[in-house]
Point group: C2
Chain length 310, copies 2
């Protein structure tokens, strides 16, 4: 039984600094404006995730998403977003498959990225296994394959981010490859680190040799956690977050799917990040209340595409 | 748009001969008894297919199935059948992925079976592409990988059969490998040929060099067809089939799933073999009517496991 805490994807929150004020201003906003990306992770994971995420973007306030290319449902995304030429759609670099009964592996040839593959022939369940077994060359090869596969099905990736934060699971070479690929493909990469319970500690070693001035850094990244889910609940958390959003560039990471048979089966034996959780995210971010909260709190939605143009 | 007729899986119907009479008798039945395997293809394809097939085996008259190992839902099958130690469960050798928005590829390393993989990195859509592009070595490697993968998740395969009949798509080496693997693993392999609209023509060249006396041959294999679906309908077809079943060993191939959101999405743009078709198969073979038809017509259900023991 793997430790569910490894699923907690928490992000480095860098101090607001001069560079960030510049970023907001470069986007055409005042330095004190509250900018927000409402980002639905995991599109491509399942049919349920696909149709719910697209619906939440068309009818709700979700304005960005990123795709898991190793999943069998990835190609459906290309079809579903055909009428959304301006969609903010990145590649959710996926190096694991954390589900118990729904298993897939790398896009690359398994023999060429054998460190990413477990004895059962699928991806490892967690980031620690990736860091322990995969070489930097294998990780870069697979990341590139995923970006190329997205492009091959007609997607124009607007950004990169990292599923479960595995890119930040301990090896600085993974981070360097991730940032190098973002540069090569001319898109921003979200800088993410797997931390526990929101503790904010930029990891110096992990970013050794990287010029952080060249990295697009967001001021604040928020995500629901198991602790939040079990205490005040997601809806209260999101409401509070939107009411108290700080000035600068914020990213809110959510996971949108329907609480249906498919998603319940995929997330079997998970106490969090499951079908009910994803349905709650869908319900909140397609509600009139969410729209009102954005208006009342003068929150401006921005996209990775806009950031990438800078 | 691929030709849907390629999906029609029709099986060589050998003439009833002395060998067959022996087979029935060896199973403990009289030569004129009507023996039937009600076989649900495609378990593993999807969660919907998995739970419906298991339900149809537990509560209905379906008594045999075979698993598609390259699908992401294959591992769920091992969990679902844990309380069914005597299940008749073979490996449904899968060399294609015919669906439009639900895509996967080989279990083997792609670079080692590149002829099985299309430019998009997934399996080819149809058997003709397999015959045209894959080498006998690649096909044997992938067949073996699928059997080994089934064993690795705790399944004890009772037989082999061939999804869409691709093993019989034109190259005699594929057939030879398939029969050789069955012998090696000590299980029967259903002898299948992709023919069109039930025309029965044993293909001499395809079986060149094979001693057909060593092959377990069924007397009659039946399967619904698009023509049947569009005319009298599946229910009338199955009723008629059970009322007029011939003596000897018969196999009826069906496809069982629920007409739910997942299965409708998988079978999108298919006019046949779709979610509604599979729900109809489920409904018929879990009905009291099907049970009565078996009783009234004195049909005896047998399994591949029994045949394998001979």
């Amino acid at each position: 039984m793997k430790n569910l805490s490894t699923l907690i994807l928490v992000l480095i929150v860098f101090q607001v600094n001069a560079q960030q004020r510049n970023l907001a201003e470069k986007l055409g906003y005042a330095p004190n404006d509250k900018l927000l990306i409402i980002h639905a992770d995991d599109i491509g994971l399942a049919h349920s995730e696909n149709i719910a995420t697209v619906a939440a973007m068309k009818n709700g306030v979700v304005n960005s998403t990123s795709i898991m290319m190793p999943s069998p449902w990835a190609t459906e995304v290309a079809e579903l977003v055909k009428d959304m030429p301006d969609i903010d759609l990145g590649v959710h670099i996926t190096l694991t498959d954390e589900w118990f009964n729904y298993r897939w592996g790398p896009i690359s040839s398994k023999s060429e990225v054998s460190g990413l593959v477990g004895e059962d022939g699928y991806f490892h369940f967690d980031c620690a296994s990736v860091a322990q077994n995969a070489s930097p060359e294998e990780v870069e090869k697979e990341m590139r394959a995923q970006i190329d596969a997205a492009i091959a099905i007609g997607i124009k990736p607007t950004h990169l981010d990292s599923h479960m934060g595995c890119v930040f699971s301990g090896r600085p070479e993974f981070v360097a490859s991730y940032l190098r690929l973002a540069e090569e493909y001319g898109i921003p990469a979200m800088v993410v680190e797997e931390l526990y319970q929101g503790v904010v500690v930029p990891n110096q070693e992990l970013f050794a040799g990287i010029d952080l001035n060249q990295v697009k850094i967001v001021d604040n990244v928020a995500i629901g956690s198991p602790e939040i889910y079990d205490s005040i609940g997601l809806s209260a958390y999101y409401t509070d977050l939107l009411k108290n959003l700080q000035p600068g560039l914020n990213v809110l990471l959510i996971h949108v799917a329907y609480d249906d048979e498919e998603m319940r089966a995929i997330t079997t034996r998970f106490d969090h990040w499951h079908a009910r959780w994803r349905q709650k995210d869908f319900d909140f971010f397609t509600s009139e209340r969410a729209k009102k909260l954005l208006e009342e709190n003068n929150i401006k939605l921005v996209t990775w595409k806009e950031i990438g143009k800078l």
